[in-house]
Symmetry: D2
Subunit: 293 residues, 4 copies
Amino acid sequence: MNLPEIDDTYAEAFKTKAAHLLITAATKKLAYIAATEATGFGTSFIGCPAEAGINQYIPPEKTPDNRPGYSIIICQNKTAQVETQLLERIGQCVLTAATTSVFNLLPESDKQTNLGFKLAFFADGYQEKIEKYGKTMYKIPVMSGDFLIEENFGITDAVAGGNLFIMAKTQQSALIAAEAAVNAIEEIPGVITPFPGGIVASGSKVGSKKYEFMHATTNEEYCPTLKNKIPNSKLSDDTNGVYEIVFDGLTEESVIKATKTAIEAIKTIPDVQKISAGNYGGNLGKYKIKLID
Amino acid sequence: MNLPEIDDTYAEAFKTKAAHLLITAATKKLAYIAATEATGFGTSFIGCPAEAGINQYIPPEKTPDNRPGYSIIICQNKTAQVETQLLERIGQCVLTAATTSVFNLLPESDKQTNLGFKLAFFADGYQEKIEKYGKTMYKIPVMSGDFLIEENFGITDAVAGGNLFIMAKTQQSALIAAEAAVNAIEEIPGVITPFPGGIVASGSKVGSKKYEFMHATTNEEYCPTLKNKIPNSKLSDDTNGVYEIVFDGLTEESVIKATKTAIEAIKTIPDVQKISAGNYGGNLGKYKIKLID
Amino acid sequence: MNLPEIDDTYAEAFKTKAAHLLITAATKKLAYIAATEATGFGTSFIGCPAEAGINQYIPPEKTPDNRPGYSIIICQNKTAQVETQLLERIGQCVLTAATTSVFNLLPESDKQTNLGFKLAFFADGYQEKIEKYGKTMYKIPVMSGDFLIEENFGITDAVAGGNLFIMAKTQQSALIAAEAAVNAIEEIPGVITPFPGGIVASGSKVGSKKYEFMHATTNEEYCPTLKNKIPNSKLSDDTNGVYEIVFDGLTEESVIKATKTAIEAIKTIPDVQKISAGNYGGNLGKYKIKLID
Amino acid sequence: MNLPEIDDTYAEAFKTKAAHLLITAATKKLAYIAATEATGFGTSFIGCPAEAGINQYIPPEKTPDNRPGYSIIICQNKTAQVETQLLERIGQCVLTAATTSVFNLLPESDKQTNLGFKLAFFADGYQEKIEKYGKTMYKIPVMSGDFLIEENFGITDAVAGGNLFIMAKTQQSALIAAEAAVNAIEEIPGVITPFPGGIVASGSKVGSKKYEFMHATTNEEYCPTLKNKIPNSKLSDDTNGVYEIVFDGLTEESVIKATKTAIEAIKTIPDVQKISAGNYGGNLGKYKIKLID
């Protein structure tokens, strides 16, 4: 099996703000359902209210209430936007979900938002502030029992836009390599892959050459079906599929680790020809995540 | 097995606007991933940008492109809001998803929005309007190949807020009865259950008795842990869990069918005591969906 | 997209015996768990106790007890072997599974085996023969409640060994085409794809050229990594992956339909080069399922 | 929430033999499909060819080939039976599964069986013995590429029949508590829960009071629907559901840890009344796993 060429380039990543929460439930499946709903419609800042995703499964032994849980990350550009997203996503998609509780995974962040205090108004006066699991929680009576949520949730600086391009002989080879990369990244603490299944089928460039009103348009230099129609294609003759993976992390280190781990995973799939990454000349983003060391 | 009592009441449902789309992909799993992302963060108008959900799996034999697909429904109060949600949710969560195409399931609606035309600007001039599958489609070159989407998508009047309350001896009996009800509803064409897993753990009343700024608060009369603390609990001594299911349908008939089918499903679960529904005295919603005939 | 060439050949299929059962449960997920366990370790007669698989999801509206269910098919060469497999698989994997009931989907078969009567001895004298759902059932008290199973189960003639070979430019293209084919077949009543995920990675020839004790060995003419090492490879230079799908059906018609439907599904995947099928010169099997009408 | 009473009793467990293998594949999903098929029809020695189950997901960083994998355990009473099960289950359900490789997780066991050597005859002379990943492997050319498997696989003494009984106010409370217990156990290295979904709906006693030919029959003292029909029921008036979980482990320590962890998980579910375990007076099994320290 030939290993893919790795471009000597870098992914350009950006500063963002993020919350990191733990959703527990009576069973693993119930926790997953809540986490999935709460992080849906959250692929890209360009047109979604947030970039959001499930980070990891946290087994019962490692959660405050000894129940299975999923950690999630919700990103937006400004702290106030993260706060709004927390209120709406946790209030609508987790408070409403069967048997859930919610815990703060960033208790040491300087910035703490009192999400639990605010959501507790839903109890219409029946809320109780309690100490449990060594934490300050709100208990909210609901039709199915009591909903428990911590009072405060940290918001931190984070890094958005880590990315890799996977070029392969067929669409399907690039796709399965992307899935393998996502499988590898999902084990890294503090990193999410916010796109559907973690994979981007339609990587974009900033702005447009033709339409002023477009903030992002297709990255035509990497489109296989335009290969022979444009002068500047970056694809070789026998490249027929390109998938991108995009990841956000709580720290630059976690994004570097995700990049490295994803590259190792991509190498396990045959017929991948090249691994590259997207950048904008280095002028827009704060972080340059190099592919080669 | 004792059958549950069925309250002689009705669910009060409301007029809304809805789009009904088909997302196909190379495999069933890929179609599901896209449909899930596109309908996430979509439980309730109160705090979500839309009420959205997967309606049905559509097998390859019944789709225009002979690939597996999922039909989804996206609801908002006004046509313009549905249009915005379509642009954002399909543009961010389906155009970006691996191997997907999108088809209009409401071609006979009077109101048609040219979603495909608009999303095609993403192609930055490389889009093509084509006739395929007997339909007018846009072909948008992307990194993974070509993305295909119909030009127009219908928006129709629909019915939101169909609901049932399930009261049981334990939380878990109510929960599994709710899951059985959701399983039954998901086979009905044109109906979605937008909450996480289709189930509502924290059914609400309109407004608040205590906080003017709250649009919806806990339905304390149905909260088991408040049973002995409030004068007006509607729960009997041995009721310890109440789950609600909420469903939106393209027609009143579909919501009536969902109600009937869900009640039959709930009856198959032991230790359910009563089935009821939420209404507001009949003054707010246009539709009264009776539980008994 | 170039469509694959279809070999003018046929799949050679064989007579077998089969049972067809419905497993229902409180929820769709619980029915799926039972059906999966009961049909596991059931890919091929060569080394498994049976060929077995899930046929279809049967929604609550179409089951006798108004609960979600999965139909399964269990095949063996002789009626007595099917009977043994039923006793073991239903007794060990469905009677033990949460909330299940089991129904006969071949009530009109001439051959009926009294599986329910036999399994009812598990009740150690507490079994009851009852009429329910218009059927003769046994009620077996178990720790979780009562287990219900019909008295008799039909065994019928069936057709094993329907198959297709998918040759593609990369392994991954062949694999996703095989998954698409399985997705299409799983909607056909009375057909199963018994291999893991419905897909065969290691299609075999009958017997061995080298080892007398082997009943089946690798089909070297279709092995991409042997292409340049053997004189008689049937693969072209640019074929790098071949997957097979194998299916068993209750009737020849259902296997013909599966073949046709699978071919249509395979055509939707890019970079598939050829579709063929396995046969043994037509001397071994009763049925010849042609690929081209 | 009232915590359940814990019976001052013990689970009686038995010596068995076990193999412990790692199945890797291109993606997590493909590895799961193979592991599921290979461990199906494997709930109980009483009527299945083995007790088998998935132990854990092993992420790419921790596998020899840097691909996602699942560890599985296959148990039988005697070493020779384990060897037969390995040949059949790995040969039929993993060699045939897409993109898989198989590794030995018991390299330090005294007893090693040359499963890889034997399965390699499938290659009909084209097999190669190679050194890879620091291990001695066989490379078997198949239609989808090459299948890799280690030469030797360890077989070890193990412990079967760890168990807990969960008694609750409703069937559904016992069921969800059992699911929570299984979720907790599945994080423990070296332990499997071989029954469907890890849960036993029909716990049995040894032998029969009425039918000499039965090796195991319903445990009537714990059957809720027999409570008022037999003199010796062990269930209180308000117990309506009992589920059992059964687990096998590679060591007594792992079974003790599973017991402890499962009890903690069960305690998180409301309306569970009592936790007990099955034993036979201590005369049959070598191990007594106490519930209270």
